[in-house]
Symmetry: C2
Subunit: 306 residues, 2 copies
């Protein structure tokens, strides 16, 4: 029996998994007040609650997989969530978080209770899941990209999942690929990075409309919406091209709530930003929808301990 | 005794190396005419000539390391140079290459003659050398960036040198980080990628002046040159920032002829593009001059077989 924990900017989800499948799924708003151990305490409490609901003693939980929003820092060898720890929204005072945490504990309290604990960035966890069960099976040089409230990526080169010095590899959503005339502000404090411009959160802040409404308008042929979505795809497509030529990738799987419901419409627009550019590298790279679709959140945490 | 081969856009250099050091260094303009085996034949001939000059029988060469300009493709499992195989100059008809090669053989003819052959992109080879003997010793999450006629990068994450599906990982010089108002044309055919704007070749094409002259003018305080160099550093600095946040790097070593002679002047300008951006990731990343300086070309090929 393993516990799967998904820590996002707005909610924490916990579920138990065994060979029989998932059981007892709970979700709560992410703790943002209290002391720096509030998130870890919430996770421990939710795992306990899930065990109770499933009629399973806590001792039967052998391992905990945690797929979490970053960025991470390490203190005394343990992963903590760094400030601004929820990059999909405006950071610090601008976002109005009711705490002054510079970092929040995460890995250590879990390690004190469970034998095996694996913490990874949520997009990295999704990459691992897509390599196990999804669209990236059999590919050693690949990426998972989520186009959601934020933009996240998980990267794998030569069969090795990239982590970097503190497990933050994959923050390509915070890279710069163009000069943003609107000077969009990102949750991380950057002005005009990819996430600020094209993420679900960025779309709401820039255009005053949620991403689902914008996408639906574009598909209905409203010309302003069509132009906006084309521009968003140019920007994200550039970021995908940059990843492919920087890492010589074979396959990129794309998921996330903004992308998923309109994937047939969006995929060719993204692909167009690769075609014809440095064909020695891009011609052999495919863009595909994520194999696990919107379930990748559940499977990500599981994949870390599977 | 090993042969070290450095294949660049303008010249091929061959030297022999043993425990006693380098011997019999030869350099020739890169073969660009003849059949698709011309470059490989040139390399074989030059190795023979070096052995003759050093008074060493060819049979004593156990291994050949080849640091070469890319991009690479694989045919029948062997690395070949792809078109446009010399990305630092204008490609195809625009560059006026006197051949119609879609790819040029490289690895196979060498493997038929020598027991151990290792071919890698020249910036990847330089990264390996910097990790062995230079500024990247002890760093598992690092990059080597050359600011030279072209822009090349070699990448290492988690102690694994990144190669990608065909050994082309590190082509970050062909990524897009801004909107280039001049629409500079790159040797690879891209318009406005990093290499097109800031490389030595790009500087010559854009400003009609060689990079060394431009740098000297900027250091002498000529205001137009100062502004131009500041802009170049903003663009390359963005590319460095993108690498650091995408791969969570700990250290980036910078070399190359454009950078090297003005490294004290340029390094703080590049560093400024990282400072204050996503500090959870960038604060722990250092930018340093390459440890091997301008000798990294010789050491790169050697490092592949050392």
């Amino acid at each position: 029996m393993v516990a799967c924990v998904d820590i996002g900017g707005t909610k924490v989800a916990v579920t138990l998994a065994s060979h029989e499948g998932f059981a007892a799924r709970f979700s709560e708003p992410t703790a943002t007040a209290g002391d720096t151990g509030a998130v870890a305490s919430q996770v421990l409490r939710m795992i306990g609650r899930a065990c109770e609901a499933a009629g399973v003693p806590l001792e039967r939980v052998d391992a905990v997989g945690v797929a979490s929003t970053g960025p991470f820092v390490r203190r005394d060898g343990y992963v903590e969530l760094a400030s601004p720890n929820l990059c999909g929204a405006l950071a610090g005072p601008a976002r109005g978080l009711p705490n002054d945490w510079s970092s929040a504990t995460l890995e250590r309290p879990l390690c004190e209770r469970f034998r095996v604990v694996r913490v990874a960035n949520d997009a990295v966890a999704a990459l691992v899941a897509e390599r196990h069960w999804g669209a990236l099976r059999g590919s050693d040089d690949c990426a998972y990209v989520t186009w959601s409230t934020g933009i996240g990526t998980g990267l794998c080169v030569g069969g090795h999942v990239l982590l970097g010095k503190n497990g933050n590899a994959g923050h390509a959503g915070h890279s710069f690929v163009n000069d943003d005339p609107d000077r969009s502000l990102c949750g991380c404090g950057n002005v005009g990075d990819v996430e600020a411009q094209v993420s679900g959160g960025g779309i709401e802040r820039r255009f005053g409309v949620d991403a689902a409404t914008l996408m639906a308008s574009a598909r209905a042929g409203e010309s302003a919406a069509v132009r906006t979505v084309d521009t968003l795809c140019e920007i994200l497509g550039r970021a995908l091209y940059n990843l492919v030529v920087t890492l010589d990738l074979q396959c990129v799987a794309i998921g996330g709530s903004v992308f998923w419901h309109h994937r047939d419409h969006l995929l060719p627009k993204l692909r167009a930003r690769l075609d014809g550019r440095l064909p020695a590298i891009t011609a052999g790279a495919s863009l595909v929808p994520a194999g696990l679709g919107l379930q990748v959140g559940d499977y990500g945490a599981l994949a870390l301990v599977a």
